[in-house]
């Protein structure tokens, strides 16, 4: 029974793991110090022969207060402030800096419903709702080394797309469009799932991320597009999900 995080296959996952590691280290130290202090008090200051009388001190003197506030503030700065600065930097520099202007970004429309995911990738024309769109069910095919830009919607209830190996998670909400992005660093098959209770079959709302090297991805996309064109039916385009990427309509 060893303990480890799922394999990290993402460009920015180390930032998440780093924050978790920093927290484990610092809160571990704080907890250990407090525990040692508590156990020392319980051991040495327990009532026994020769120690029947507690010290009549209210801890209301100025130095007591300075001590309490100093310890609290040192912990606050060392853990919370440090972490908040680091997180703000990571959010604004990475996780929440969406690749809107990045021509290399692969855009995927994600539609969640009870209890499946559909993923729609714009074909070479870069537009959604055209014959070359590739739609996959419970399988997200992505290239390694390019930003994957997801926009999500839900048809029925709130779901949450959970990508453990890419260290991210974003809700899919009826009536709203949410977004997230990540970048795979290694080819492979990784699981994706639903993190938000969405009904009785929530546990079955599992899918696969297939990350392919650039050449492999190009081959796969070519085959998938050809297949899409063959099956394209303008009258049924709405059934494939999807919406206008820019306007969200």
């Amino acid at each position: 029974m060893h303990i480890e995080l799922p394999r990290d296959a993402s460009l920015d996952g180390h930032l998440v793991d780093g924050a978790i590691g920093y927290l484990t280290l610092t809160t571990g130290i704080v907890f250990a110090l407090a525990l040692v202090f508590l156990l020392a008090a319980l051991l040495f200051h327990r009532a026994r022969a020769g120690r029947t009388w507690g010290r009549h001190a209210h801890g209301n003197r100025a130095r007591d207060r300075v001590l309490m506030f100093s310890v609290a503030l040192v912990m606050f700065v060392a853990i919370d402030v440090t972490l908040a600065l680091r997180t703000t930097r990571d959010l604004e520099g990475r996780f929440w800096r969406y690749p809107d202007a990045d021509p290399a970004a692969v855009r995927v429309e994600v539609t969640a419903r009870q209890w499946a995911w559909s993923f729609r990738t714009a074909g070479p024309d870069g537009r959604f709702g055209t014959p070359d769109d590739v739609v996959t069910l419970n399988e997200l095919d992505i290239p390694v080394g390019r930003p994957i830009y997801l926009k999500l919607r839900a048809l029925d209830v709130v779901h949450s797309l959970y990508l453990p190996s890419f260290r991210t998670k974003i809700d899919a909400i009826p009536g709203a469009t949410t977004r997230a992005w990540f970048q795979a660093t290694a080819p492979g098959r990784f699981e994706l799932g639903c993190a938000q209770h969405c009904g009785v079959n929530h546990y079955k709302m599992r899918g696969i991320v297939v990350a392919r090297a650039a050449d492999d991805y190009r081959d796969w996309l070519g085959r998938a597009e050809a297949d899409s064109r063959l099956r394209y039916d303008p009258a049924a385009s709405a059934a494939a999900g999807g919406w206008d990427w820019e306007t969200g309509k």
Binding site: M1, L5, P6, V16, A19, I20, L23, T27, F31, A34, L38, A41, L42, H45, T52, W53, G54, R55, H56, A57, H58, G59, N60, D64, R65, M68, F69, A72, I79, D80, V81, L83, T87, D90, L91, E92, Q114, L155, D156, V157, S160, Y162, P164, R167, K169, I170, D171, I173, P174, G175, A176, R179, G193, A195, H197, G199, V200, H202, Y203, K204
Partner: protein, 593 residues
């Protein structure tokens, strides 16, 4: 109480005690009886919610295996196996029952009712009839909730948070969810009645000399909790009313998606729910903090270390708790500025919280610590709250939350607070006030056995959940082995489940001790713990009107190790005793010999 002059004021004649069975034990106006009613109701639901936890753990440890003994009875149609529908109903009702129908009635309804008037030196609550209405509204809520198990399409299955649109007709068409909404609304009405009563009692009925800074921390805890209840339970009620309209009248406040014409907003529900839901955590933990603050001082035989700082910190937590709820919604795609603000505000709570913990550590330091059962449970709370509080930082941090949100790490974190720390405080309070409530002592060896059999498995359970969540397992999965990356976690889930069974079985020690002591425990003296707060100045159990004469308070609640007490041959002074260095606030009437 041993020798010592006592200050008390004269009062007029008191109305007589009711003698009929119904007036005395059922529709009683006496806060002590109502407190016990809440206590028994809550304990019954604690047992039900606990047994549901056992079934949830059974499914996670032995997926698809028929439940032994009760399986055929409870899950007959599926051959004794817990079905996905049953599992979903179980975790929904486990959460609902534990938070709204177990911990709330036991802690706030039970101990709040019993303690508040006694601890502030009052003869009853400010509004005894409202108090009775509060209990019977809660009772009605439990009846409605129980009914939701027995309706077509089954019990509610939207989780205890009942997120829209899963909780609307889209995800939960049956009447079970509607009954759930009504039950939560009635439960909230009961809480608000209690809150109004508690606030008024503390504001208006404190005994002469009982200044705010002489209140026991227990009273501060219940007082501040009541303020939060009065402010935020109505927000939950609003959410329930809108959800009820959506379900029954066909409105669409929370409905969106493919439903034709739906222009509502499911996220609005989350805002309303967590605007209440985060203060709710503090609503429950504040009384626990108060109780533990007092009891650590009582059993360390020392005053509370930094009483004023602690009171300030409690108030600080109350204020901050109103502005942090957004950390429950980091993954809903909220605007970056809003997200970062909620993150920072949440982290600021760690300052008053660490002051409270430092006060606990300073209180036991250089004491003459005694270890009766209530003290063991208090120390258990210090430990579990420490871990629970620190793991909260992981979830306050948005980067870490991207990964940990909605995993078992969250489950472990909030159980360490809402289950572990609160259970510790409930048991500490029960062992501590049992003599005053029922006039008999509980059995100490059984109490200590109960503590160790609870404390050890409890930590295995919730540390195990943290470890499972750290490794990526989501919440509320009927069968985690659907995911390949979660398959290796089965041994972890088994270990947690086995510890949970032990934890559940250990509570039989408590049940036996409780009922045996109720019938056969040795008679309790007025002040078995040798402490100075007002409830211990009256007999155990207290007379109908608590105080024959309203006491006059001359000092704070934690005067232990007081030098002036040496002359009396003990180490504590009561809040009403005139000896000592604190002059009385007003001319006292001398007790006539």
């Amino acid at each position: 109480m041993s020798a010592g002059k006592v200050a008390a004021s004269d009062e007029g004649e008191l109305p007589p005690e009711p003698t009929g069975f119904w007036r005395r034990w059922v529709f009683s106006l006496d806060h002590k009886v109502i407190g016990r009613q809440f206590l028994f109701l809550g304990l019954a639901f604690l047992a039900v919610g606990g047994l549901m936890a056992m079934l949830i753990r059974w499914q996670l440890a032995s997926p698809g295996v028929p439940v032994p003994v009760v399986g055929k009875l409870l899950f007959g149609p599926s051959g004794g196996v817990i079905s996905p529908v049953a599992y979903t109903a179980l975790f929904t009702m486990h959460g609902t029952i534990m938070i709204f129908f177990a911990v709330t009635p036991i802690l706030i309804g039970g101990f709040g009712n019993f303690c508040l008037p006694l601890l502030v030196g009052a003869r009853d609550m400010a509004f005894p009839r409202l108090n009775m209405a509060s209990f019977w509204t809660m009772f009605a809520a439990t009846a409605v909730l129980t009914a939701s198990f027995f309706v077509p399409l089954g019990p509610p299955e939207a989780g205890w948070t009942a997120y829209a649109t899963l909780s609307t007709a889209i995800g939960a068409p049956g009447p079970g969810q509607t009954l759930w909404v009504v039950a939560i609304y009635l439960n909230g009405a009961s809480s608000v009645m209690g809150a109004v009563n508690y606030i008024t009692t503390v504001l208006r009925l404190r005994a002469p000399g009982m200044t705010y800074l002489r209140l026991p921390l227990t009273v501060w805890g219940f007082f501040l909790t009541s303020i939060l209840n009065a402010l935020f339970v109505p927000v939950l009620a609003a959410a329930m009313v809108l959800l009820f309209f959506d379900r029954v009248l066909g409105t669409q406040f929370f409905v969106a998606g493919t439903t034709p014409g739906a222009g509502g907003d499911p996220i609005l529900y989350q805002h309303l729910f967590w605007l209440f839901g985060h203060p709710e955590v503090y609503i429950l933990i504040l009384p626990a903090w108060g109780i533990v603050g007092d009891l650590l001082a009582f059993f360390a035989r020392k005053p509370v270390f930094g009483y004023r700082v602690t009171v300030g910190a409690l108030v600080g937590v109350v204020v901050l708790s109103c502005v942090v709820y957004g950390h429950h919604m980091f993954t809903t795609g909220m605007s970056p500025l809003l997200g970062e603000s909620f993150m920072l505000l949440t982290m600021i709570i760690s300052v008053p919280t660490s002051l409270i913990v430092l006060s606990w550590l300073g209180t036991v330091w250089r004491g003459a610590i005694r270890f009766p059962t209530p003290m063991l449970f208090c120390l258990g709370l210090v430990f579990t709250f420490g871990v629970g509080g620190l793991t909260g930082l992981y979830l306050a941090d948005i980067t870490a939350d991207l990964y940990l949100h909605d995993t078992y790490f969250v489950v472990g974190h909030f159980h360490l607070i809402m289950a572990a720390a609160l259970l510790m405080s409930l048991f500490a309070a029960t062992y501590f006030w049992f003599p005053k409530m029922f006039g008999r002592m509980m059995n100490e060896p059984l109490g200590k056995l109960h503590f160790w059999l609870t404390f050890v498995p409890l930590n295995v359970v919730f540390f195990g959940m943290l470890a499972i969540g750290y490794q990526g397992m989501q919440r509320r999965l009927y069968d985690p082995s659907v995911y390949d990356f979660l398959k290796p976690l089965l041994p972890w889930n088994r270990a947690v489940s086995h510890a949970a069974y032990l934890l559940g079985a250990a509570q039989l020690v408590f049940v036996v001790n409780f009922f045996w002591s109720l019938a056969r425990g040795p008679r309790a003296a007025a002040n078995p713990w040798e402490v100075g707060t007002l409830e211990w100045t009256v007999p155990s159990p207290p007379p109908h009107h608590n105080f024959d004469r309203i006491p006059i308070v001359v000092r704070g609640p934690h005067e232990l190790g007081h030098p002036a007490a040496r002359a009396l041959g003990r180490d504590w002074l009561s809040q009403t005793e005139l000896e000592g260095d604190t002059p009385p606030p007003r001319a006292p009437t001398e007790e006539p010999a």
